[in-house]
């Protein structure tokens, strides 16, 4: 009986989270269009609803009703499977994210590791999409994306070790509790910078959006996709942006906790921090030009990798001396 109840509660929570994530993603795209438009002295979407507020719903409907084209020479099974392979890991990760002190789907002892492992599976979908489309732009985009995500996954993994050593736990809740007094970003500024750059590269965001560099590769790995399948890629990209932002918030900015003198509920703090993170993501896209491919690899392996190793070493050394 107890187990049935537990399953039911979990199912309801999952239902809420998945649907809210989809709604938030839809509006995140709206916000992105608006912010970039204003950064470029345009107005952005204005027609549907007040200041285009209903635009995401119109877009969603459009994508839903659009014709779904599978190219003639494409590998049908892999082509259909690819968007699913991208979206499922991006959503599964939400199972362990703490949204507030009390609202989370589950908490496990290896939460942080779980997030890194599952989100690294998303790249398969990208590669499968590129291969199955049977188009050179798609394939090149997919290969780039594979090399990029493999490289930057390493820096992402190493950059979280610093805060991890300070918290002494892989459990996301406990990492947040360890930051009651001081956020880890003040102890680990280098780790945070590396983490943020790696996060940009992992989510294929500007200035590292090489896999879908529109000036050279049309639209990269999802060139041949249309309709709902295309929407899946979009959904996955924004969902994993929110995941990586949440991990950043949990590791470096004290999760759902805020300063004591401003009494706001934990969930509100979380949303504020998430909003700030997402805004920086969009802001960077509006501001920075795209990296060249060799620059991307050079910065990663020759600069960020030694830096993050040094950070781990120094953290261990200082922890041994002072704590």
């Amino acid at each position: 009986m107890d187990m049935a109840l537990e399953v039911a509660v979990a199912a309801i929570k999952i239902f809420i989270v998945v649907n809210v994530v989809q709604l938030v993603v839809a509006y995140m795209i709206y916000v992105e269009r608006k912010v970039i438009a204003h950064a470029q002295l345009r107005l952005g979407p204005m027609r549907v609803g007040w200041h285009g507020l209903l635009q995401p719903i119109a877009d969603g409907l459009k994508l839903f009703l659009k014709e779904d084209i599978v190219p003639d020479k494409a590998d049908r099974i892999v082509f259909v499977l690819a968007p699913v392979m991208v979206l499922v890991p991006a959503l599964v990760v939400y199972a362990v994210l703490p949204f507030s002190a009390t609202f989370y789907i589950t908490q496990i002892n290896i939460g942080l590791f779980f997030v890194l492992a599952i989100s690294s599976l998303g790249v398969f979908g990208v590669v499968m999409a590129g291969w199955a489309s049977n188009s050179k732009y798609s394939l090149l985009g997919a290969l780039r994306s594979a090399a990029q995500m493999l490289s930057y996954e390493i820096f992402l993994g190493f950059s979280v070790i610093g805060p991890l050593m300070l918290a002494g736990s892989l459990n996301l809740q406990e990492i947040v509790h360890a930051q009651r007094d001081v956020w880890f970003v003040f102890y680990q500024p280098v780790a945070f910078i590396v983490f943020f750059v790696a996060a940009l590269a992992e989510t294929n965001r500007a200035p590292f959006d090489l896999p879908e560099a529109e000036t050279e590769l049309v639209a990269g790995f999802h060139t041949e996709y249309s309709g709902m399948k295309f929407a899946f890629f979009f959904l996955a990209e924004y969902a994993s942006m929110m995941v990586i932002s949440t991990i950043g918030i949990v590791l470096f900015f004290g999760g759902w906790e805020g300063p004591d003198f401003i009494p706001l509920p934990g969930f509100v703090w979380y949303c504020l921090k998430l909003g700030a993170f997402m805004f920086v993501f969009i802001w960077l896209r509006a501001t920075l030009p795209r990296y060249r491919y060799d620059q991307l690899m050079r910065v990663g392996w020759k600069f960020m990798f030694p830096l993050v190793m040094l950070n781990i070493f120094l953290t261990g050394f200082l922890k041994y001396l002072f704590l």
Binding site: I110, S120, E153, L170
Partner: protein, 172 residues
């Protein structure tokens, strides 16, 4: 009851994946099936309360190594595998004999150890969840098993240096 159902589900996924790796004619499908097998294995580790090992299985095998496989398959653009005559006379028979020999050895080991009786080792699930999986592995790796751990590090380092040397020589 739920855990044994879970086990059978994962066992089927792992085995079917493994068979599919060999059976698919297209190398890309084989790679995808191998990913499925590795994920099934990770699930099995998880059901044995070896959470850390499960996650490492996903990160290293299912994602990093398989990504490399996929990369190679896509870069050299392999088509479907061609049906070819077997090289040696009686190759199938010899293969079957070798396979049976290995299987009987494995069976003997399996029957002669405590795997069948279910005798517990020094880290049964209750103790693992009490101590924390990652902590146990970390402590063991840096105390009892520090020499193999370091030796592995040296081995990997040699591998990396070798790869760099080979890649350099060709570009000149």
């Amino acid at each position: 009851m739920a855990s044994s159902l879970f086990f059978y589900f994962l066992a089927v996924v792992t085995t079917v994946g493994a068979i599919a790796v060999v059976a698919f004619p297209s190398p890309l499908y084989s790679v995808l099936a191998l990913i499925l097998t590795f994920l099934g294995l990770a699930g099995l580790y998880l059901s044995l309360h070896a959470q850390f090992v499960a996650i490492v299985q996903v990160i290293i095998y299912a994602s990093a190594i398989m990504m490399l496989f996929l990369f190679v398959v896509m870069l050299i653009n392999l088509g479907r595998e061609e049906k070819r005559e077997l090289r040696l006379p009686g190759q199938k028979l010899l293969g079957a004999i070798a396979g049976l020999a290995v299987f009987s050895m494995l069976l003997k080991v399996f029957l002669s150890t405590s795997l069948m009786t279910g005798k517990k080792g020094s880290f049964p699930p209750e103790r693992v969840s009490e101590l924390g999986n990652t902590q146990i592995i970390g402590n063991l790796l840096l105390t009892d098993y520090v020499l193999p751990f370091q030796a592995m590090g040296v081995l990997l380092f040699v591998g990396i240096v070798g790869a760099v040397v080979l890649a350099r020589r060709r570009s000149r």
